[in-house]
């Protein structure tokens, strides 16, 4: 074994000398496998980061030398400690904890249930009809649909901001949430609602969050701790001294989220959270929402509406599609298109329509049309995306963009 590790170490040192970037990655694996003490494993990680960040060759060479020294230290450490009692016990303890976490399941209680909800606006005649919906802790449900189809109406009803005309609402996990006997002030203590148009805040951004925490019972030092926590968690520290009007759309939303999340609601409702955000901020916000919903200790149900179909597909557990006030689809993403009769693909190419059709002549497709933004082609179910892509390659059809939307939310819209 000692000869083997020394042989591996020599190879690793050569790799580091020839290509330190790749060598650094291998060094981390080497440390993980052979270092008995955590300090050396940590050093491998940190040296990789230092090398990545080093702006000049001279600095990179210094880090490279440190990596080579670390290899020697790990070999020595392994030879001295590998089978020591303390090392074996420590490794067993870590494995035990990791296994324990892998087996734990966060609670998935139902926080909201709607049966046969109706709401009619007499003036316009628009009706939201026959809505059935369940929200569970840890779950993100996204409401999608064309403009004016009832998304905001539904969110307002769930948030208790608008009364339904008919149907049953229950908030089983909340005190005062029984159907037919809802005590709204108790139920709303557990619901955070962020509307699409965010109201402007007063002077101090931090004080607004502190106030929100305080009115939900978080006082004194706990208030300081929870507010500092959420500020760090949502990356808001650098902007605390700004006024509301100086914030970008993205940071206004993040401050609104901080205010909503500081007191750990069980149900978060957000109307069009991605509307004013650049793509990078959209991904950050969605990832944060996913992590927050899935919290082990403070899981939350999230109901949101959005027109950003591709982005919300990556985080949603269920989709509710509203069409003219009625539910056209409600279920898990993998159920979308499960009963479809054909596959649908979206793509963009430089070819004009005539040439494209000529090159597609030998492909048994059903329909080909242009939406104004991209081409859409439908095929029998026996033609999957890999086969279609291969056909495009074999028939010299250059692609800028390709997406299989057979089981995408996009298919629900009649494009």
């Amino acid at each position: 074994m000692s000869q083997t590790i020394q042989h591996i170490a020599q190879t690793l040192k050569r790799d580091i000398e020839q290509n330190a970037t790749q060598g650094a990655k291998t060094l981390i694996d080497f440390a993980k496998q052979y270092a008995a003490t955590n300090k050396l494993k940590h050093e491998a990680l940190i040296l990789k980061l230092s090398y990545t960040k080093a702006p000049e060759q001279e600095q990179q060479q210094i880090v490279q030398t440190e990596m080579l020294d670390l290899v020697n230290k790990i070999v020595q450490d392994h030879l001295n400690n590998a089978q020591s009692e303390a090392t074996v016990a420590q490794q067993a303890a870590v494995q035990k904890v990791e296994q324990y976490f892998a087996e734990q399941n966060a609670p998935k209680d139902i926080v909201f249930e709607a049966n046969g909800i109706h709401k009619t606006y007499k003036r316009s005649g628009f009706s939201l009809r026959d809505i059935n919906l369940q929200l569970h802790l840890g779950e993100i449900v996204s409401v999608v649909g064309e403009n004016g189809n009832g998304k905001t109406t539904l969110l307002n009803i769930v948030a208790g901001e608008l009364l339904n005309d008919n149907g049953k609402l229950t908030y089983p996990a909340f005190e005062g949430g029984k159907a037919g006997n809802i005590t709204w002030y108790r139920v709303k203590e557990n619901i955070a609602y962020i509307p699409q148009e965010l109201p402007a805040w007063g002077d101090s951004l931090k004080q607004m969050i502190q106030f929100e925490a305080a009115i939900h019972g978080i006082r004194g030092k706990d208030n300081d701790l929870e507010v500092d926590y959420i500020i760090q968690r949502l990356g808001l520290e650098e902007h605390l001294n700004k006024r509301w009007r100086e914030l970008s759309g993205g940071f206004k939303l993040r401050f609104a989220l901080a205010k909503a999340l500081v007191w750990k609601p069980k149900l978060l409702i957000i109307d069009e959270p991605l509307a004013n955000l650049d793509i990078k901020t959209q991904l950050i916000v969605l990832k944060d929402l996913r992590n927050m919903a899935s919290s082990f200790r403070y899981p939350m149900a999230i109901l949101l509406s959005s027109q950003h179909l591709h982005e919300i597909e990556s985080v949603s557990d269920k989709i509710l599609f509203l069409k003219q006030g009625e539910v056209s689809f409600y279920g898990a993403l993998d159920q979308l298109g499960a009963a479809r009769q054909y596959n649908t693909f979206e793509f963009n190419t430089d070819l004009n329509t005539k040439t494209l059709k000529q090159r597609l002549a030998n492909l048994p497709y059903q329909k080909l049309y242009h939406t104004g933004i991209s081409h859409v082609i439908t095929t029998d179910l026996n033609i999957n995306y890999a086969q279609l892509l291969q056909y495009f390659l074999d028939n010299d059809i250059p692609l800028h963009y390709f997406r299989n939307i057979s089981q995408s939310v996009k298919k629900l819209f009649d494009l």
Partner: protein, 89 residues
């Protein structure tokens, strides 16, 4: 824990910090743990700002960064030890 380390190694320390904050929120009953992670996060953000503005050169920034990263990794080890002791109890 592995995921946090992967983020650190991939120069995604802000992501690692978020996961650490989530981990402490979910698995620690000790408020001091939360305070410690908040302080580390605050210190790391300040370091990044100083580096971006050119207030710190690479050597100084790297020195402080390493110190903070060791703090994060040692903190994780400490939490894992305590969690395993709680499980055993």
């Amino acid at each position: 824990m592995d995921v946090i380390q992967v983020h650190i190694a991939s120069d995604e320390v802000p992501e690692a910090m978020k996961l650490l904050l989530d981990f402490v929120r979910d698995f620690s009953d000790d408020k001091e743990d939360k305070k410690e992670v908040i302080v580390i996060s605050h210190s790391y953000n300040r370091l990044e700002r100083q580096e971006r503005r050119g207030v710190l050169n690479f050597e100084l920034a790297d020195q402080q960064r390493r110190k903070l990263l060791y703090q994060i990794l040692d903190f994780m080890d400490d939490m894992m030890d305590r969690l395993s002791q709680n499980l055993a109890a």
